[in-house]
Amino acid sequence: MGDLVQLLVSGTATGAIYALAALGFTLLWQAAGVINFAQGEFVMLPAFAMLAGLAFGLPVWLAFLIACVLAAIVLGAGFKQVVVDPLIRHGVIPLVIATLGLAIAVKSTVRAGFSAEAHPLPSPFPTGQLSIAGINVSYADIGTLALAGAIVIGLQAFLNRTVTGRAMQAVAQNTESARVLGIDVRRMVLYVFLINAVLAVVAALLIAPTYLAKFDMGDSIGLKAFFAAIIGGFNQTRGALLGGVLIGVLENLVGFYISPAYKEGVALVLFLGVILLRPEGLLGKAEERKV
Protein backbone atom coordinates (compact mmCIF):
# COMPACT_ATOMS: atom_id res chain seq x y z
CA MET A 1 0.00 0.00 0.00
CA GLY A 2 2.77 2.38 1.00
CA ASP A 3 4.61 1.50 -2.21
CA LEU A 4 1.57 2.19 -4.28
CA VAL A 5 0.92 5.62 -2.78
CA GLN A 6 4.58 6.52 -3.18
CA LEU A 7 4.55 5.37 -6.80
CA LEU A 8 1.40 7.34 -7.48
CA VAL A 9 2.78 10.53 -5.96
CA SER A 10 6.15 10.41 -7.65
CA GLY A 11 4.51 9.33 -10.91
CA THR A 12 2.17 12.29 -10.74
CA ALA A 13 5.14 14.56 -10.07
CA THR A 14 7.02 13.26 -13.12
CA GLY A 15 3.82 13.39 -15.11
CA ALA A 16 3.33 17.01 -14.11
CA ILE A 17 6.68 17.81 -15.72
CA TYR A 18 5.67 16.03 -18.93
CA ALA A 19 2.42 17.95 -18.75
CA LEU A 20 4.24 21.28 -18.66
CA ALA A 21 6.12 20.44 -21.84
CA ALA A 22 2.97 18.99 -23.41
CA LEU A 23 0.99 22.09 -22.49
CA GLY A 24 3.37 24.35 -24.38
CA PHE A 25 3.29 21.92 -27.27
CA THR A 26 -0.52 22.03 -27.41
CA LEU A 27 -0.65 25.81 -27.13
CA LEU A 28 1.78 26.18 -30.02
CA TRP A 29 -0.29 23.84 -32.14
CA GLN A 30 -3.56 25.57 -31.37
CA ALA A 31 -2.46 29.15 -31.75
CA ALA A 32 0.11 28.88 -34.49
CA GLY A 33 -0.37 25.50 -36.16
CA VAL A 34 3.16 24.50 -35.21
CA ILE A 35 4.19 20.94 -34.37
CA ASN A 36 7.48 21.52 -32.59
CA PHE A 37 9.79 18.54 -32.81
CA ALA A 38 12.41 20.51 -30.90
CA GLN A 39 10.22 20.74 -27.81
CA GLY A 40 12.49 18.39 -25.86
CA GLU A 41 15.53 20.49 -26.80
CA PHE A 42 13.62 23.53 -25.58
CA VAL A 43 13.72 21.88 -22.15
CA MET A 44 17.33 20.76 -22.47
CA LEU A 45 18.78 24.17 -23.34
CA PRO A 46 17.49 26.02 -20.25
CA ALA A 47 18.81 23.18 -18.08
CA PHE A 48 22.29 23.91 -19.42
CA ALA A 49 21.73 27.66 -19.17
CA MET A 50 20.94 27.22 -15.49
CA LEU A 51 23.99 24.98 -15.05
CA ALA A 52 26.10 27.74 -16.56
CA GLY A 53 24.54 30.29 -14.23
CA LEU A 54 25.28 28.10 -11.23
CA ALA A 55 28.85 27.65 -12.41
CA PHE A 56 29.19 31.45 -12.20
CA GLY A 57 28.08 31.22 -8.59
CA LEU A 58 24.53 32.49 -9.04
CA PRO A 59 21.85 31.25 -6.66
CA VAL A 60 19.32 28.82 -8.16
CA TRP A 61 16.44 31.31 -8.26
CA LEU A 62 18.50 33.91 -10.09
CA ALA A 63 19.82 31.34 -12.57
CA PHE A 64 16.21 30.29 -13.14
CA LEU A 65 15.03 33.84 -13.76
CA ILE A 66 17.88 34.56 -16.16
CA ALA A 67 17.13 31.30 -17.98
CA CYS A 68 13.50 32.38 -18.27
CA VAL A 69 14.47 35.69 -19.83
CA LEU A 70 16.96 34.06 -22.21
CA ALA A 71 14.46 31.38 -23.18
CA ALA A 72 11.74 33.95 -23.85
CA ILE A 73 14.12 35.82 -26.16
CA VAL A 74 15.75 32.89 -27.94
CA LEU A 75 13.27 29.99 -27.76
CA GLY A 76 10.21 32.23 -27.78
CA ALA A 77 10.56 35.32 -29.93
CA GLY A 78 13.70 34.18 -31.77
CA PHE A 79 12.28 30.77 -32.70
CA LYS A 80 9.11 32.42 -33.97
CA GLN A 81 10.93 35.10 -35.93
CA VAL A 82 13.67 33.01 -37.50
CA VAL A 83 12.11 29.58 -38.02
CA VAL A 84 8.33 29.69 -37.77
CA ASP A 85 7.42 32.94 -39.52
CA PRO A 86 9.27 32.25 -42.79
CA LEU A 87 7.99 28.66 -42.93
CA ILE A 88 4.41 28.72 -41.73
CA ARG A 89 3.13 29.67 -45.21
CA HIS A 90 4.46 26.41 -46.65
CA GLY A 91 2.24 24.28 -44.40
CA VAL A 92 2.84 21.92 -41.51
CA ILE A 93 5.36 19.48 -42.99
CA PRO A 94 8.26 21.81 -43.90
CA LEU A 95 8.00 23.31 -40.43
CA VAL A 96 8.07 19.86 -38.83
CA ILE A 97 11.20 19.06 -40.81
CA ALA A 98 12.79 22.38 -39.88
CA THR A 99 12.15 21.78 -36.17
CA LEU A 100 13.67 18.31 -36.58
CA GLY A 101 16.77 19.96 -38.05
CA LEU A 102 16.77 22.52 -35.28
CA ALA A 103 16.60 19.78 -32.66
CA ILE A 104 19.65 18.06 -34.17
CA ALA A 105 21.57 21.34 -34.41
CA VAL A 106 20.82 22.31 -30.80
CA LYS A 107 21.64 18.86 -29.42
CA SER A 108 24.88 18.63 -31.37
CA THR A 109 25.93 22.15 -30.39
CA VAL A 110 25.61 21.29 -26.72
CA ARG A 111 27.50 18.06 -27.22
CA ALA A 112 30.30 19.50 -29.34
CA GLY A 113 30.63 22.84 -27.58
CA PHE A 114 29.83 22.01 -23.99
CA SER A 115 29.70 18.44 -22.87
CA ALA A 116 28.52 14.98 -23.74
CA GLU A 117 28.25 14.02 -20.07
CA ALA A 118 25.19 14.02 -17.84
CA HIS A 119 25.20 16.82 -15.27
CA PRO A 120 23.11 16.96 -12.11
CA LEU A 121 21.31 20.22 -11.48
CA PRO A 122 20.85 20.98 -7.77
CA SER A 123 17.25 20.54 -6.75
CA PRO A 124 15.40 23.71 -5.77
CA PHE A 125 13.71 21.69 -3.04
CA PRO A 126 15.13 20.30 0.22
CA THR A 127 16.24 16.68 0.27
CA GLY A 128 14.65 14.13 2.54
CA GLN A 129 11.23 12.65 2.89
CA LEU A 130 7.98 13.43 4.56
CA SER A 131 6.64 10.45 6.48
CA ILE A 132 2.99 10.18 7.33
CA ALA A 133 1.54 6.91 8.64
CA GLY A 134 4.36 4.85 7.19
CA ILE A 135 4.10 6.41 3.76
CA ASN A 136 7.18 8.24 2.56
CA VAL A 137 6.97 11.04 0.05
CA SER A 138 10.05 13.01 -0.95
CA TYR A 139 10.10 16.76 -0.61
CA ALA A 140 11.24 16.95 -4.20
CA ASP A 141 8.03 15.26 -5.40
CA ILE A 142 5.91 17.51 -3.21
CA GLY A 143 7.75 20.61 -4.41
CA THR A 144 7.47 19.51 -8.05
CA LEU A 145 3.76 18.93 -7.72
CA ALA A 146 3.23 22.22 -5.93
CA LEU A 147 5.22 24.27 -8.43
CA ALA A 148 3.85 22.54 -11.54
CA GLY A 149 0.35 22.73 -10.09
CA ALA A 150 0.71 26.43 -9.33
CA ILE A 151 1.97 27.12 -12.85
CA VAL A 152 -0.86 25.20 -14.45
CA ILE A 153 -3.54 26.79 -12.29
CA GLY A 154 -2.01 30.21 -12.84
CA LEU A 155 -1.90 29.65 -16.60
CA GLN A 156 -5.50 28.45 -16.71
CA ALA A 157 -6.58 31.47 -14.69
CA PHE A 158 -4.67 33.72 -17.05
CA LEU A 159 -6.24 32.09 -20.12
CA ASN A 160 -9.78 32.15 -18.72
CA ARG A 161 -9.95 35.25 -16.58
CA THR A 162 -7.91 37.95 -18.28
CA VAL A 163 -8.72 39.85 -21.46
CA THR A 164 -5.38 38.88 -22.99
CA GLY A 165 -5.86 35.24 -22.05
CA ARG A 166 -9.30 35.13 -23.63
CA ALA A 167 -8.00 36.83 -26.73
CA MET A 168 -5.33 34.12 -26.94
CA GLN A 169 -7.97 31.41 -26.68
CA ALA A 170 -10.01 33.10 -29.39
CA VAL A 171 -6.94 33.04 -31.65
CA ALA A 172 -6.38 29.39 -30.85
CA GLN A 173 -9.95 28.46 -31.70
CA ASN A 174 -10.36 30.46 -34.85
CA THR A 175 -7.73 32.84 -36.10
CA GLU A 176 -9.95 34.40 -38.74
CA SER A 177 -12.83 35.31 -36.44
CA ALA A 178 -10.35 36.57 -33.84
CA ARG A 179 -8.94 38.91 -36.46
CA VAL A 180 -12.43 40.11 -37.37
CA LEU A 181 -13.07 40.81 -33.67
CA GLY A 182 -10.12 43.19 -33.71
CA ILE A 183 -7.74 41.01 -31.75
CA ASP A 184 -4.06 41.61 -32.45
CA VAL A 185 -3.42 38.07 -33.65
CA ARG A 186 0.33 38.49 -34.16
CA ARG A 187 0.83 39.70 -30.63
CA MET A 188 -1.26 36.87 -29.16
CA VAL A 189 0.71 34.28 -31.12
CA LEU A 190 3.93 35.83 -29.86
CA TYR A 191 2.63 35.51 -26.29
CA VAL A 192 2.01 31.81 -26.87
CA PHE A 193 5.62 31.35 -27.97
CA LEU A 194 6.83 33.21 -24.88
CA ILE A 195 4.65 31.11 -22.58
CA ASN A 196 5.89 27.93 -24.25
CA ALA A 197 9.50 28.99 -23.66
CA VAL A 198 8.92 29.76 -19.98
CA LEU A 199 7.02 26.51 -19.43
CA ALA A 200 10.04 24.70 -20.86
CA VAL A 201 12.36 26.41 -18.37
CA VAL A 202 10.14 25.34 -15.48
CA ALA A 203 10.09 21.79 -16.83
CA ALA A 204 13.90 21.91 -17.03
CA LEU A 205 14.21 23.16 -13.45
CA LEU A 206 12.03 20.31 -12.24
CA ILE A 207 13.33 17.43 -14.33
CA ALA A 208 17.10 18.01 -14.45
CA PRO A 209 17.73 17.35 -10.72
CA THR A 210 16.40 13.78 -10.98
CA TYR A 211 16.91 12.86 -14.62
CA LEU A 212 20.14 14.87 -15.12
CA ALA A 213 20.94 17.43 -17.77
CA LYS A 214 22.36 15.81 -20.88
CA PHE A 215 22.51 16.88 -24.50
CA ASP A 216 20.06 14.18 -25.57
CA MET A 217 17.66 14.47 -22.62
CA GLY A 218 15.21 16.16 -24.97
CA ASP A 219 14.61 12.95 -26.96
CA SER A 220 12.71 11.37 -24.14
CA ILE A 221 10.93 14.48 -22.83
CA GLY A 222 9.96 15.63 -26.28
CA LEU A 223 8.49 12.23 -27.09
CA LYS A 224 6.53 12.11 -23.84
CA ALA A 225 5.20 15.64 -24.34
CA PHE A 226 4.22 14.71 -27.83
CA PHE A 227 2.32 11.57 -26.82
CA ALA A 228 0.82 13.25 -23.74
CA ALA A 229 -0.65 15.91 -25.99
CA ILE A 230 -2.24 13.37 -28.37
CA ILE A 231 -3.45 11.06 -25.61
CA GLY A 232 -5.19 13.91 -23.85
CA GLY A 233 -6.56 15.48 -27.03
CA PHE A 234 -4.55 17.72 -29.26
CA ASN A 235 -7.09 20.53 -29.22
CA GLN A 236 -7.55 20.75 -25.45
CA THR A 237 -5.09 22.27 -22.99
CA ARG A 238 -6.56 20.20 -20.16
CA GLY A 239 -5.90 17.13 -22.30
CA ALA A 240 -2.15 17.77 -22.15
CA LEU A 241 -2.30 17.75 -18.36
CA LEU A 242 -4.26 14.52 -18.21
CA GLY A 243 -2.02 12.88 -20.80
CA GLY A 244 1.17 13.93 -19.01
CA VAL A 245 0.04 12.74 -15.59
CA LEU A 246 -1.32 9.49 -17.00
CA ILE A 247 2.00 8.71 -18.66
CA GLY A 248 3.99 9.63 -15.55
CA VAL A 249 1.89 7.47 -13.22
CA LEU A 250 1.64 4.47 -15.53
CA GLU A 251 5.37 4.56 -16.23
CA ASN A 252 6.03 4.34 -12.53
CA LEU A 253 3.56 1.49 -12.05
CA VAL A 254 4.86 -0.45 -15.05
CA GLY A 255 8.44 0.14 -13.98
CA PHE A 256 7.73 -1.22 -10.50
CA TYR A 257 5.24 -4.01 -11.07
CA ILE A 258 6.09 -5.25 -14.55
CA SER A 259 9.56 -4.39 -15.80
CA PRO A 260 11.67 -1.24 -15.59
CA ALA A 261 12.98 -2.10 -19.04
CA TYR A 262 9.62 -1.37 -20.65
CA LYS A 263 8.91 1.85 -18.78
CA GLU A 264 9.69 3.86 -21.89
CA GLY A 265 7.12 1.93 -23.90
CA VAL A 266 4.18 3.03 -21.74
CA ALA A 267 3.52 6.25 -23.62
CA LEU A 268 3.39 4.38 -26.93
CA VAL A 269 1.02 1.66 -25.74
CA LEU A 270 -1.29 4.30 -24.24
CA PHE A 271 -1.12 6.20 -27.48
CA LEU A 272 -2.00 3.16 -29.61
CA GLY A 273 -4.89 2.37 -27.30
CA VAL A 274 -6.18 5.90 -27.57
CA ILE A 275 -6.01 6.13 -31.36
CA LEU A 276 -7.80 2.81 -31.66
CA LEU A 277 -10.58 3.55 -29.20
CA ARG A 278 -10.87 7.32 -29.00
CA PRO A 279 -8.93 8.95 -31.82
CA GLU A 280 -9.74 12.52 -30.86
CA GLY A 281 -7.96 12.00 -27.52
CA LEU A 282 -9.40 11.44 -24.07
CA LEU A 283 -10.66 15.00 -23.67
CA GLY A 284 -10.55 16.11 -27.28
CA LYS A 285 -13.48 17.02 -29.45
CA ALA A 286 -13.90 15.31 -32.78
CA GLU A 287 -13.45 17.67 -35.70
CA GLU A 288 -15.88 17.36 -38.55
CA ARG A 289 -14.34 16.31 -41.78
CA LYS A 290 -13.45 19.31 -43.87
CA VAL A 291 -14.03 19.21 -47.59
Binding site: I104, A105, G265
Partner: protein, 320 residues
Protein backbone atom coordinates in the same frame (compact mmCIF):
# COMPACT_ATOMS: atom_id res chain seq x y z
CA UNK B 1 20.06 11.16 -77.70
CA UNK B 2 16.70 11.60 -75.98
CA UNK B 3 16.57 12.68 -72.35
CA UNK B 4 15.57 9.27 -70.91
CA UNK B 5 18.25 7.52 -72.99
CA UNK B 6 20.84 10.02 -71.83
CA UNK B 7 19.82 9.46 -68.23
CA UNK B 8 19.99 5.69 -68.62
CA UNK B 9 23.45 5.96 -70.19
CA UNK B 10 24.64 8.13 -67.33
CA UNK B 11 23.30 5.67 -64.79
CA UNK B 12 25.07 2.76 -66.49
CA UNK B 13 28.29 4.79 -66.57
CA UNK B 14 28.07 5.63 -62.85
CA UNK B 15 27.32 2.05 -61.83
CA UNK B 16 30.14 0.75 -64.01
CA UNK B 17 32.55 3.35 -62.63
CA UNK B 18 31.62 2.35 -59.08
CA UNK B 19 31.97 -1.36 -59.82
CA UNK B 20 35.39 -0.96 -61.40
CA UNK B 21 36.64 1.92 -59.25
CA UNK B 22 36.00 0.09 -56.00
CA UNK B 23 38.90 -2.25 -56.78
CA UNK B 24 41.28 0.70 -56.46
CA UNK B 25 39.87 1.97 -53.16
CA UNK B 26 41.01 1.32 -49.63
CA UNK B 27 39.23 -1.49 -47.84
CA UNK B 28 37.63 0.95 -45.38
CA UNK B 29 36.34 3.14 -48.21
CA UNK B 30 34.77 0.16 -49.94
CA UNK B 31 33.12 -0.66 -46.63
CA UNK B 32 31.75 2.89 -46.36
CA UNK B 33 30.39 2.79 -49.90
CA UNK B 34 28.69 -0.51 -49.17
CA UNK B 35 27.26 0.92 -45.96
CA UNK B 36 25.90 3.90 -47.86
CA UNK B 37 24.23 1.62 -50.42
CA UNK B 38 22.69 -0.46 -47.66
CA UNK B 39 21.13 2.63 -46.09
CA UNK B 40 20.11 3.73 -49.55
CA UNK B 41 17.87 0.67 -49.84
CA UNK B 42 15.98 1.93 -46.80
CA UNK B 43 15.83 5.55 -47.92
CA UNK B 44 14.71 4.56 -51.43
CA UNK B 45 11.80 2.80 -49.77
CA UNK B 46 11.13 5.74 -47.50
CA UNK B 47 11.06 8.06 -50.50
CA UNK B 48 8.25 5.94 -51.91
CA UNK B 49 6.27 6.39 -48.69
CA UNK B 50 7.12 10.03 -48.05
CA UNK B 51 7.89 11.52 -51.41
CA UNK B 52 5.60 9.65 -53.77
CA UNK B 53 2.67 8.77 -51.50
CA UNK B 54 2.96 11.80 -49.21
CA UNK B 55 2.88 9.96 -45.88
CA UNK B 56 5.11 10.86 -42.96
CA UNK B 57 6.89 7.81 -41.63
CA UNK B 58 9.18 8.19 -38.64
CA UNK B 59 9.94 4.53 -38.05
CA UNK B 60 12.04 3.41 -41.00
CA UNK B 61 14.96 2.46 -38.72
CA UNK B 62 12.67 0.03 -36.86
CA UNK B 63 12.03 -1.88 -40.09
CA UNK B 64 15.71 -1.66 -40.95
CA UNK B 65 16.37 -3.21 -37.52
CA UNK B 66 13.75 -5.92 -37.92
CA UNK B 67 15.33 -6.87 -41.24
CA UNK B 68 18.78 -6.92 -39.67
CA UNK B 69 17.77 -9.06 -36.69
CA UNK B 70 15.73 -11.47 -38.80
CA UNK B 71 18.77 -11.82 -41.04
CA UNK B 72 21.20 -12.23 -38.15
CA UNK B 73 19.13 -14.96 -36.51
CA UNK B 74 18.20 -16.76 -39.73
CA UNK B 75 21.65 -16.58 -41.32
CA UNK B 76 23.26 -17.94 -38.18
CA UNK B 77 20.72 -20.75 -38.17
CA UNK B 78 21.92 -21.63 -41.67
CA UNK B 79 19.01 -20.31 -43.72
CA UNK B 80 20.37 -19.34 -47.16
CA UNK B 81 20.65 -15.62 -47.90
CA UNK B 82 18.30 -15.78 -50.88
CA UNK B 83 15.58 -17.13 -48.61
CA UNK B 84 16.29 -14.69 -45.78
CA UNK B 85 15.79 -11.66 -48.00
CA UNK B 86 12.16 -12.36 -48.93
CA UNK B 87 11.41 -13.48 -45.37
CA UNK B 88 12.62 -10.15 -44.00
CA UNK B 89 10.83 -8.19 -46.72
CA UNK B 90 7.53 -9.99 -46.16
CA UNK B 91 7.86 -9.68 -42.37
CA UNK B 92 8.37 -5.93 -42.63
CA UNK B 93 5.57 -5.62 -45.19
CA UNK B 94 3.11 -7.44 -42.93
CA UNK B 95 4.18 -5.55 -39.80
CA UNK B 96 3.85 -2.33 -41.78
CA UNK B 97 0.28 -3.25 -42.73
CA UNK B 98 -0.57 -4.17 -39.14
CA UNK B 99 0.87 -0.92 -37.81
CA UNK B 100 -0.47 1.31 -40.54
CA UNK B 101 -4.02 0.00 -40.49
CA UNK B 102 -5.14 1.31 -37.08
CA UNK B 103 -3.23 4.57 -37.55
CA UNK B 104 -4.66 5.29 -41.00
CA UNK B 105 -8.15 4.26 -40.02
CA UNK B 106 -8.24 7.36 -37.85
CA UNK B 107 -6.43 10.14 -39.58
CA UNK B 108 -3.67 10.16 -42.07
CA UNK B 109 -1.17 12.20 -40.09
CA UNK B 110 -1.42 9.73 -37.21
CA UNK B 111 0.84 7.44 -39.18
CA UNK B 112 3.78 9.69 -38.26
CA UNK B 113 3.06 9.42 -34.56
CA UNK B 114 2.37 5.70 -34.67
CA UNK B 115 5.59 4.93 -36.54
CA UNK B 116 7.60 7.04 -34.13
CA UNK B 117 6.15 5.17 -31.16
CA UNK B 118 6.61 1.86 -32.94
CA UNK B 119 10.29 2.62 -33.35
CA UNK B 120 10.65 3.30 -29.63
CA UNK B 121 8.96 -0.01 -28.86
CA UNK B 122 11.08 -2.02 -31.32
CA UNK B 123 14.21 -0.48 -29.83
CA UNK B 124 13.10 -1.47 -26.33
CA UNK B 125 12.38 -5.02 -27.46
CA UNK B 126 15.76 -5.32 -29.20
CA UNK B 127 17.47 -4.11 -26.05
CA UNK B 128 15.50 -6.13 -23.53
CA UNK B 129 14.58 -9.47 -25.05
CA UNK B 130 18.04 -10.92 -24.54
CA UNK B 131 17.23 -14.56 -25.33
CA UNK B 132 16.24 -13.62 -28.86
CA UNK B 133 18.18 -10.46 -29.67
CA UNK B 134 21.19 -10.69 -27.40
CA UNK B 135 20.13 -7.45 -25.70
CA UNK B 136 22.79 -4.76 -25.58
CA UNK B 137 25.46 -7.33 -26.45
CA UNK B 138 23.79 -7.84 -29.79
CA UNK B 139 24.47 -10.68 -32.21
CA UNK B 140 27.93 -11.26 -33.61
CA UNK B 141 29.58 -13.40 -36.27
CA UNK B 142 26.81 -12.94 -38.80
CA UNK B 143 27.91 -14.69 -41.99
CA UNK B 144 28.08 -13.17 -45.45
CA UNK B 145 26.26 -15.00 -48.21
CA UNK B 146 27.42 -17.77 -50.48
CA UNK B 147 25.12 -18.08 -53.45
CA UNK B 148 25.29 -20.99 -55.91
CA UNK B 149 28.74 -21.77 -54.63
CA UNK B 150 30.00 -18.21 -55.13
CA UNK B 151 31.19 -16.65 -51.89
CA UNK B 152 30.59 -12.98 -51.21
CA UNK B 153 32.71 -13.10 -48.11
CA UNK B 154 35.39 -10.65 -49.30
CA UNK B 155 34.78 -6.92 -48.92
CA UNK B 156 34.96 -6.29 -52.66
CA UNK B 157 32.75 -9.24 -53.55
CA UNK B 158 30.16 -8.11 -51.02
CA UNK B 159 30.35 -4.58 -52.40
CA UNK B 160 29.57 -5.83 -55.90
CA UNK B 161 26.80 -8.04 -54.59
CA UNK B 162 25.23 -5.09 -52.75
CA UNK B 163 25.62 -2.78 -55.73
CA UNK B 164 23.89 -5.27 -58.03
CA UNK B 165 21.11 -5.76 -55.47
CA UNK B 166 20.65 -2.02 -55.04
CA UNK B 167 20.35 -1.56 -58.80
CA UNK B 168 17.80 -4.37 -58.90
CA UNK B 169 15.80 -2.80 -56.05
CA UNK B 170 15.97 0.59 -57.73
CA UNK B 171 14.73 -0.90 -61.00
CA UNK B 172 11.86 -2.58 -59.18
CA UNK B 173 10.84 0.69 -57.55
CA UNK B 174 11.16 2.52 -60.86
CA UNK B 175 8.86 0.00 -62.48
CA UNK B 176 6.40 0.27 -59.59
CA UNK B 177 6.31 4.06 -59.80
CA UNK B 178 5.64 3.93 -63.53
CA UNK B 179 2.79 1.46 -63.09
CA UNK B 180 -0.77 2.66 -62.41
CA UNK B 181 0.03 2.18 -58.73
CA UNK B 182 2.66 4.88 -58.90
CA UNK B 183 0.09 7.21 -60.42
CA UNK B 184 -2.38 6.40 -57.65
CA UNK B 185 0.31 7.10 -55.04
CA UNK B 186 1.00 10.50 -56.55
CA UNK B 187 -2.72 11.23 -56.77
CA UNK B 188 -3.27 10.59 -53.08
CA UNK B 189 -0.19 12.64 -52.24
CA UNK B 190 -1.33 15.62 -54.31
CA UNK B 191 -5.01 15.58 -53.42
CA UNK B 192 -6.47 12.73 -51.36
CA UNK B 193 -10.03 14.09 -51.37
CA UNK B 194 -10.16 14.37 -55.14
CA UNK B 195 -8.48 10.99 -55.49
CA UNK B 196 -11.18 9.37 -53.39
CA UNK B 197 -13.93 10.96 -55.45
CA UNK B 198 -12.30 9.35 -58.50
CA UNK B 199 -12.47 5.87 -57.04
CA UNK B 200 -8.94 5.72 -55.63
CA UNK B 201 -9.02 3.64 -52.46
CA UNK B 202 -6.78 5.97 -50.54
CA UNK B 203 -6.56 3.86 -47.40
CA UNK B 204 -5.45 0.79 -49.34
CA UNK B 205 -2.90 2.67 -51.43
CA UNK B 206 -1.51 4.56 -48.45
CA UNK B 207 -1.09 1.32 -46.54
CA UNK B 208 0.59 -0.31 -49.52
CA UNK B 209 2.99 2.57 -50.07
CA UNK B 210 3.91 2.50 -46.42
CA UNK B 211 4.30 -1.28 -46.26
CA UNK B 212 6.36 -1.42 -49.46
CA UNK B 213 8.61 1.29 -48.05
CA UNK B 214 8.95 -0.77 -44.87
CA UNK B 215 9.80 -3.89 -46.87
CA UNK B 216 12.63 -2.01 -48.61
CA UNK B 217 14.02 -1.08 -45.20
CA UNK B 218 13.79 -4.75 -44.21
CA UNK B 219 15.83 -5.75 -47.25
CA UNK B 220 18.34 -3.02 -46.43
CA UNK B 221 18.56 -4.42 -42.91
CA UNK B 222 19.44 -7.88 -44.23
CA UNK B 223 22.35 -6.47 -46.23
CA UNK B 224 23.36 -4.35 -43.26
CA UNK B 225 23.57 -7.33 -40.89
CA UNK B 226 25.68 -9.27 -43.34
CA UNK B 227 27.91 -6.27 -43.99
CA UNK B 228 28.72 -5.27 -40.42
CA UNK B 229 28.67 -8.90 -39.18
CA UNK B 230 27.76 -7.67 -35.69
CA UNK B 231 24.53 -5.89 -34.76
CA UNK B 232 23.26 -4.28 -31.57
CA UNK B 233 20.20 -2.06 -30.95
CA UNK B 234 22.05 1.29 -31.23
CA UNK B 235 21.73 1.92 -34.99
CA UNK B 236 17.98 1.23 -34.89
CA UNK B 237 17.09 4.01 -32.48
CA UNK B 238 14.38 6.39 -33.67
CA UNK B 239 17.00 9.09 -34.20
CA UNK B 240 18.16 7.01 -37.18
CA UNK B 241 14.60 7.13 -38.53
CA UNK B 242 14.63 10.89 -38.25
CA UNK B 243 17.96 11.02 -40.08
CA UNK B 244 16.58 8.79 -42.83
CA UNK B 245 13.57 11.05 -43.18
CA UNK B 246 15.82 14.09 -43.36
CA UNK B 247 17.98 12.32 -45.96
CA UNK B 248 14.92 11.83 -48.17
CA UNK B 249 13.72 15.39 -47.72
CA UNK B 250 16.99 17.26 -48.11
CA UNK B 251 17.86 15.15 -51.13
CA UNK B 252 14.48 15.99 -52.62
CA UNK B 253 11.45 13.92 -51.66
CA UNK B 254 9.46 12.55 -54.56
CA UNK B 255 12.51 12.66 -56.80
CA UNK B 256 13.89 9.30 -57.70
CA UNK B 257 17.55 10.09 -57.04
CA UNK B 258 16.88 12.43 -54.11
CA UNK B 259 17.72 9.78 -51.49
CA UNK B 260 21.12 9.20 -53.11
CA UNK B 261 22.20 12.75 -52.35
CA UNK B 262 20.57 12.70 -48.92
CA UNK B 263 22.08 9.36 -47.89
CA UNK B 264 25.55 10.45 -48.94
CA UNK B 265 25.12 13.49 -46.70
CA UNK B 266 23.91 11.61 -43.64
CA UNK B 267 26.03 8.43 -43.90
CA UNK B 268 29.02 8.75 -46.19
CA UNK B 269 30.26 12.30 -45.47
CA UNK B 270 30.28 12.11 -41.65
CA UNK B 271 32.03 8.73 -41.78
CA UNK B 272 34.64 10.04 -44.21
CA UNK B 273 35.25 13.00 -41.90
CA UNK B 274 35.59 10.70 -38.92
CA UNK B 275 38.20 8.62 -40.70
CA UNK B 276 40.23 11.67 -41.66
CA UNK B 277 43.34 12.65 -39.72
CA UNK B 278 43.42 16.21 -41.03
CA UNK B 279 42.96 18.75 -38.20
CA UNK B 280 40.41 20.98 -39.97
CA UNK B 281 38.36 17.97 -41.02
CA UNK B 282 38.40 16.64 -37.47
CA UNK B 283 36.88 19.92 -36.38
CA UNK B 284 34.26 19.50 -39.09
CA UNK B 285 33.48 16.02 -37.84
CA UNK B 286 32.79 17.35 -34.36
CA UNK B 287 30.47 20.08 -35.61
CA UNK B 288 29.06 18.19 -38.58
CA UNK B 289 25.63 17.56 -37.09
CA UNK B 290 25.33 21.18 -36.02
CA UNK B 291 25.89 22.37 -39.58
CA UNK B 292 23.66 19.61 -40.85
CA UNK B 293 20.79 20.61 -38.55
CA UNK B 294 21.09 24.28 -39.42
CA UNK B 295 21.33 23.41 -43.10
CA UNK B 296 18.06 21.50 -42.83
CA UNK B 297 16.36 24.59 -41.38
CA UNK B 298 17.88 26.82 -44.06
CA UNK B 299 16.93 24.35 -46.78
CA UNK B 300 13.31 24.31 -45.66
CA UNK B 301 13.25 28.10 -45.80
CA UNK B 302 15.00 28.57 -49.14
CA UNK B 303 14.82 25.30 -51.03
CA UNK B 304 11.90 23.19 -49.83
CA UNK B 305 12.19 20.98 -52.92
CA UNK B 306 15.51 19.55 -51.73
CA UNK B 307 18.98 19.58 -53.22
CA UNK B 308 18.06 17.69 -56.39
CA UNK B 309 15.57 20.47 -57.23
CA UNK B 310 18.54 22.83 -57.63
CA UNK B 311 19.08 21.31 -61.06
CA UNK B 312 15.57 22.44 -62.05
CA UNK B 313 16.25 25.94 -60.86
CA UNK B 314 19.35 26.29 -62.96
CA UNK B 315 17.63 24.78 -65.95
CA UNK B 316 14.74 27.20 -65.59
CA UNK B 317 17.06 30.15 -65.22
CA UNK B 318 19.04 29.22 -68.32
CA UNK B 319 15.95 28.73 -70.48
CA UNK B 320 14.16 31.89 -69.35
Amino acid sequence: MSAPARRAAMLVAIVAALAIGAAFLKRSDVYLLTLTMVYLMATFGLNLTVGYAGQMSLGQAAFFGIGAYVAAIALKAGVPFLAVMPIAAVACFVIGLALGFPALRVQHHYLAFATLGFNVLVYLILRNEEQVTGGTYGISAIPRPTILGVSFEGHLAYFHFTLASLVALGALLWWLLRSPWGRAFAALRDNPIRAESLGVNITAYTLLAFAIGAACAGVGGVYYASLVEFIEPGPFHFSTSLMMLLAVIIGGSGRFYGPVVGTIIIILLPELLRGSSHEALKFMQKWYLVFFGLAVVALMVWLPGGIVSLADRFRRRSTS
